[in-house]
Amino acid sequence: MTATSTPTKVELAELGPPRADASETGHATRWRLLRLRWGLAASAILVLIVASAVFAPLISPGDPLAVNIRHRLAPPAWMEGGAPQHLLGTDQVGRDLLSRIIYGGRVSLVVGAGSVLIAATIGVLLGLGAGYFGGRTDWTIMTLINVMLTFPFVLLALSVIAVLGPSLPNMILVLGVAGWPIYARVIRAETMAIREREFVLAGRALGMSHARIVFRQIAPNLVSVIVVIATLQVAQVIIFESFLSFLGLGIQPPTPAWGNMLGEGRVYMLNSWWIATFPGLAIFLTTLVINLMGNALRDWLDPHLKL
């Protein structure tokens, strides 16, 4: 959907059957605007989600850890047998689901932001190195990328967690260290293209050091790419974190996390569907709005980027 390539596509399409009408460009523009508007709406929802996680103690209706056996497995408030003080119902020991979901967002967002930061740092540095220096450096880093990409992400994370033991810092570390290849691959390709531009040559001619060229001349051109990948990766990481917690290899109960709530709810899905459903919806909504925002960011910052 590059701005420059659209006109030629229209010309070619017009030679075909009448199906491709002249308002193709109008369509495309309207479509992009629509996507941007969706992106804005998504960012607004994301701000709400982040705010509810940050201010969880203020807005949550109850204590996420308060056990109340008499109210266990209460259905959501609108169903028969539901109580108004438990809007989304309660779990197997009577803890309020809504409060747990609000607090659970903290884990997902912290893990998402933390591991994306680690992954982006490693990936960008290696990608810059491979793309700028080329040759043997490039070969080594590309092989490393291939090895990492061959290894299923889930399997790698699982086996490392199994050795290190499950905890919040370990999870951030594992997901961060396992997630860098995607950044490195894209940054490497972009760096290779930028390296050939005149301003890099001019910098070399002026006697700039490699480090200065890489970090001051090349890297600033890559900020938008990095922001787009990082945004989309936060969504991926949140899904992986919740899967690990779902298996019981991530955040340990009773700390509420969307993943371990889902895992606990699975046991009760025969009669109490709400325990597994609502945390999953929270993951779905969060990753959905992050993806929408990432797509809009990509259209806005860097329409040529293919991700």
């Binding site: 299923p152 889930v154 199994a162 050795v163 899904i239 459903t277 779905f284």
Partner: protein, 306 residues
């Protein structure tokens, strides 16, 4: 073609070497097998005895060599838990995983090919918008949650399909759909953009100019060329697909390698984990090589280019 093949093989050897290092390193460098094997109050003498018994007091490169030379012969050591060779345990569980992966791939193609082509041909129409919307929603859906929701609806409420188990075709439906639905969005987008790109090319104009019917243009000329990026990415996605199969297996209690791996991780049974990880990685590398070769045969530009 021969040079292309040679380059791919060198790449393969290096990647396999890297994977073996990674699988070995995770256990031996990050963790201490003896700490995992013995109870914490076992005492220093007992720890030392076990270290010596397992050969862990020797230098790392010696241990690595022992590990690799065994692995090449299919000897990954005995399971610490079941007292059977790890290789045999893992191999027995391989077929269900492969069947599930293939079934998931089939479902993904059945969903993504028609929708992708339709969306490309009716670009910017409501069908296109609907397909893109579905793809965006699909990418945001956690696989394991989708699986649980499917079980709640189709097995618990409607009582139409079994919630778990293995053996009959009914057992395949939910897991295969679950896995396929997660691969479908990205495939659909690729098919769509591939077809759009190809439909604007000169040879399509030629095909139309010589009076070919539109369906023939789409199927014979556009689709075949749009296949190349799709096959490439499907090959690259195979690792992700297998990763998805791991998640699917744990939700539906599918008796494949993944459930074995997760159980072994819970039991701290590392020979089995190592063996499973390496065999799965080999499978992925093999498929990637196959895809590269197939693409090289379909599209001569690729062999010559890189």
């Amino acid at each position: 073609m021969r040079r292309y093949l040679a380059r791919q093989l060198v790449q393969l050897v290096v990647v396999v070497f890297g994977i073996s290092l990674l699988a070995f390193g995770i256990l031996h460098v990050l963790g201490d097998p003896v700490l995992l094997l013995l109870p914490q109050n076992a005492g220093e003498a007992e720890f030392e005895r076990y270290r010596h018994l397992l050969g862990l007091d020797r230098p790392l490169y010696v241990q690595y060599w022992k590990f690799v030379s065994g692995a090449v012969r299919g000897d990954f050591g005995k399971s610490w838990y079941a007292d059977t060779p790890a290789f045999k345990l893992v191999l027995e569980r391989m077929p269900p995983t492969i069947y599930l992966t293939l079934a998931g791939l089939l479902v993904a193609l059945l969903i993504s090919l028609p929708l992708g082509i339709l969306a490309a041909l009716k670009r910017h129409s409501w069908i296109d918008t609907l397909c893109t919307g579905l793809a965006v929603a699909g990418q945001a859906t956690p696989l394991f949650w989708l699986g649980i929701m499917l079980i709640i609806v189709f097995a618990v409420r409607l009582k139409l399909l079994p919630a778990s188990g293995y053996g009959t075709w009914q057992n395949f439906l939910l897991p295969a759909f679950c896995l396929g639905a997660t691969l479908a969005p990205i495939t659909m987008r690729l098919v769509r953009s591939g077809v759009i790109e190809v439909m604007n090319m000169e040879f399509i104009k030629t095909a139309r100019a010589k009076g070919l019917a539109e369906p023939a243009v789409v199927v014979k000329h556009a689709f075949r060329n749009a296949c190349i990026p799709v096959i490439t990415v499907l090959g690259l996605q195979f690792g992700q697909l297998l990763g998805g199969a791991i998640i699917t297996e744990t939700v539906f209690a599918w008796p494949g390698v993944a459930t074995l791996t997760v159980d072994s991780i819970r039991n701290q049974d590392f020979p089995v984990v190592q063996c499973a990880v390496i065999l799965l990685a080999l499978l992925i590398v093999g498929v990637n090589l196959l895809v590269d070769l197939v693409v090289g045969v379909i599209d001569p530009r690729i062999r010559a280019g890189t």
